[in-house]
Symmetry: C2
Subunit: 153 residues, 2 copies
DNA sequence: CACTATAATGATATTGATTCTCACAATACA
DNA sequence: TGTATTGTGAGAATCAATATCATTATAGTG
């Protein structure tokens, strides 16, 4: 019913290292920490959230730069929480294509793997609508909004 | 193929006036200007964009307050361009449910009415996926990304 | 193992969007 | 009309994010 949970996190470091190497970008300690933290996270995270979780108190300014570098290198994808705060997650080629469950109460965002069957359906509609709107479609973003289990309790 | 373009803009003022009245909020000149401008717009707009278009130079600070008031009153929906800039559009009950075509080149965002058939399909998948993810679904947001006609030319 | 060139970091200043403050003006309505 | 309430405008303040720049770490090189 659901797709495979995407590429294993085991070789995450290796895959990122590879990618950064080809770009002449160093895979430093701080960058590793950020990549691993996002590998563990179940959804996109803000700089502030990451700053709170990262043990060796990486300065916020460095963290922002790290996030920018990784995003520019294509390792991270940047999105937004809808209230002025940027969110980061592993890029699709690392994490696998997925969508988001957004709790309208607490604001929590969780990854959700839609499954091949459903994804095919979505892609079909998206392509048709995009073409009708004179758009050369390259992708789509879907947020499913609702109230999470925690907030219903 | 496409749905009706949503509620007519003719009674836009009346409907907004009604809504604001029940909340004890005045429908002032500046607020009317903003609502009408967004009624004419073909997609979500930033405060800066609106500021540029509005004839009687409404101060930016007032414009921001107006946008906030209208959003709080449920007349406007607030979203985000992903680069630190908030976007505003008429709420669904005024504009009708729709989605967005986003040009990854120029950043332009355009409304798109998906059509009942496609919308039913999307809603079906969204409900199924949300339920599977323990989310009490209340809505969904879909951005179709690609390259617009202008940018291909 | 030093030595040098290059890239990364951290502390701080700065930007830019948005929000807040507060004195003043407009509006509702008794 | 008089008075309470709500809205406005100009500027200060806030906050996420970025830029600066001196310092430190790293990859190579001999
Ligand atoms: Mn998808
Ligand atoms: Mn829809
Ligand atoms: Zn929640
Ligand atoms: Zn474009």
């Amino acid at each position: 019913m659901t797709t495979m949970p995407g590429p294993v996190l085991g070789d995450l470091d290796a895959r990122v290292a590879q990618r950064l190497a080809t770009g002449g970008v160093r895979y430093t300690k701080g960058r590793r920490l950020v990549v691993r933290a996002l590998g563990r996270a179940g959804g996109p995270r803000s700089a502030a959230e990451l700053h709170g979780r990262l043990r060796p108190g990486i300065p916020l300014s460095s963290l922002y730069r790290t996030l920018t570098v990784l995003a520019d290198a294509g390792v991270l994808a940047r999105s937004h929480d809808g209230h002025g705060v940027a969110l980061f997650e592993l890029a699709e080629w690392l994490r696998g294509h997925h969508h988001h469950l957004v709790c309208v109460e607490c604001g929590r965002v969780e990854d959700v793997d839609v499954g091949d069957e459903h994804e095919r359906t979505l892609t079909g509609v998206v392509l048709a609508v995009g073409a009708a709107g004179d758009l050369e479609v390259t992708g789509h973003r879907i947020d499913i909004e609702g109230v999470c289990g925690a907030c219903r309790a």
